[in-house]
């Protein structure tokens, strides 16, 4: 498979890979349920960081559930309703680009939007059901993508007030940020560099660890905890082997599975942080406002 430059794959650049809308400042923002409950730290720290970087995230009014996972068969129209409704809300409120943070929301909305663009039959049926003339095209972005393409890691490096030197971090992508590459196109599905780029700009010491694109067990946490624990332990041990002080994730479910597995199935002592927390910290926000858990806060005090 030929991997095109990231800016082309995400539809945000010309054919040579030059980003065409660098400098764009205002984005629609879809937080999703997790960011209002267990993963508030991700929401709060991302908002603070964006404010400092001059990016305005305008939260979608009255947003509804993204549907959590997209159906992978061609005629499951019911499963497309939830994401289609969110895309419709975004368009009605004047956003043709919607930024997300939760990997579940990002993957679901981006894939649903990709599917609807290519399946006129599905588009027609859903439009009829939702009682609209036609379904709009909305570009779904991840905040990491906004940081890379619209802000740029060089500008972030310049904006850093408190370089996170000496922090050995293992960037953990998981599945939903990367796969399927033809539909997501955020980065290379097997050798991604996006989080590495950001974390290096913050001054972190980024370790190379083998499990960075492995699955955390995802929703098996609900139906088959044994295998979820097994998946999480593989990732944790891989981080330990790479001598990482922290795992850095972007997905609230990965974060939960990794922490839950440490609590009951073998504690490797590796705190799991969100990338946005480290970003806001490096940009000068006080650590106590960024929602670090006890383990993370203690480890951060130790390493600084």
């Amino acid at each position: 498979m030929v991997i095109k430059p990231a800016a082309v794959r995400s539809g945000r650049g010309d054919e040579e890979g030059n980003v065409v809308d660098q400098g764009k400042k205002t984005f629609g923002y879809y937080p999703g349920c997790e960011l209002r409950t267990r993963a508030q730290a991700l929401d709060i720290s991302a908002r603070k960081a964006c404010e400092t970087l001059g990016i305005t995230l305008k939260e979608l009014k009255d947003w509804t559930c993204c549907g959590s996972l997209v159906a992978q068969v061609k005629d499951n129209y019911m499963a497309l309703l939830a994401p289609a409704r969110v895309l419709l809300q975004a368009h009605a409120q004047g956003f043709n680009e919607l930024a997300t943070l939760c990997a579940f929301c990002f993957n679901t909305l981006r894939r649903a939007s990709f599917f609807l663009e290519r399946h006129p039959e599905a588009r027609r049926k859903l439009a009829t059901f939702l009682e609209v003339e036609m379904l709009p095209q909305v570009r779904v972005l991840h905040l990491l993508e906004v940081l890379r393409d619209s802000v740029g890691f060089d500008r972030i490096r310049e904006a850093v007030r408190r370089p996170l030197q000496g922090l050995r971090v293992a960037p953990y992508y998981g599945c939903l940020l990367l796969r399927p590459a033809q539909e997501i196109g955020l980065d290379d599905p097997e050798e991604p560099t996006l989080m590495e780029g950001l974390l290096k700009a913050l001054g972190c010491d980024v370790v190379d660890f083998r499990s960075r694109t492995d699955c955390c067990g995802s929703y098996h946490i609900v139906t088959n905890q044994g295998v979820a624990a097994q998946c999480a332990q593989v990732i944790l041990h891989s981080a330990v082997d790479a001598k990482a002080d922290f795992l850095v994730a972007s997905c609230p479910v990965c974060q939960f599975n990794l922490d839950w597995s440490q609590a009951g199935h073998g504690n490797t002592g590796v705190p799991v942080l969100y990338f946005a927390q480290l970003l806001a910290l490096a940009l000068g926000e006080p650590a106590e406002t960024l929602g670090f858990d006890e383990r993370g806060a203690a480890a951060l005090r130790e390493s600084s």
């Binding site: 959590s68 996972l69 068969v73 579940f104 599945c175 946490i221 609900v222 088959n224």
Partner: protein, 134 residues
């Protein structure tokens, strides 16, 4: 290991799975890279590549009754590894869909699950409900 296959059953399941998943089942040449990369292969009755083999050989029942599609969590490691561009996760989803549409799912939530569920990330709960229950 011996396998008993009921070959050539004409129930059309392979066709149905191919249509639902929009994948060419016969593109698979059984290299096993999907199985090698699968993070949940340890809890599967049959390794992932064998499910495709069952479908290729026309033993639909074996593919349909296996625990394998229900163990697949859709991480798409297999799809990114496959040298023939087969998206195995879609085939697994098609097999789940066939059974869900027959109201034949292996999981049902009960009242007792409530307390455990309330502690979990809601996106995982919603995802599980949409993937493994009807």
């Amino acid at each position: 290991m011996s396998l008993l296959l009921s070959l050539g059953r004409k129930d059309g399941l392979a066709k149905e799975v191919a249509a639902l998943s929009e994948q060419n089942l016969y593109a698979c040449y059984q290299c096993g890279k999907c199985t090698a990369g699968c993070p949940v292969a340890s809890i599967m009755d049959d390794p992932p590549h064998q499910i495709v083999r069952f479908l290729q050989l026309g033993d639909a029942d074996k593919a349909l009754k296996s625990s394998t599609p229900w163990a697949c969590v859709g991480c798409l490691t297999c799809a990114s590894f496959c040298p023939k561009g087969v998206d195995l996760a879609r085939i697994m989803e098609a097999l789940r869909t066939v059974r869900l549409r027959r109201l034949d799912a292996p999981f049902r939530y009960t009242q007792e699950d409530g307390e455990w569920l309330s502690n979990l990330p809601q996106s995982a709960v919603v995802a599980a409900m949409r993937k493994v229950t009807w």
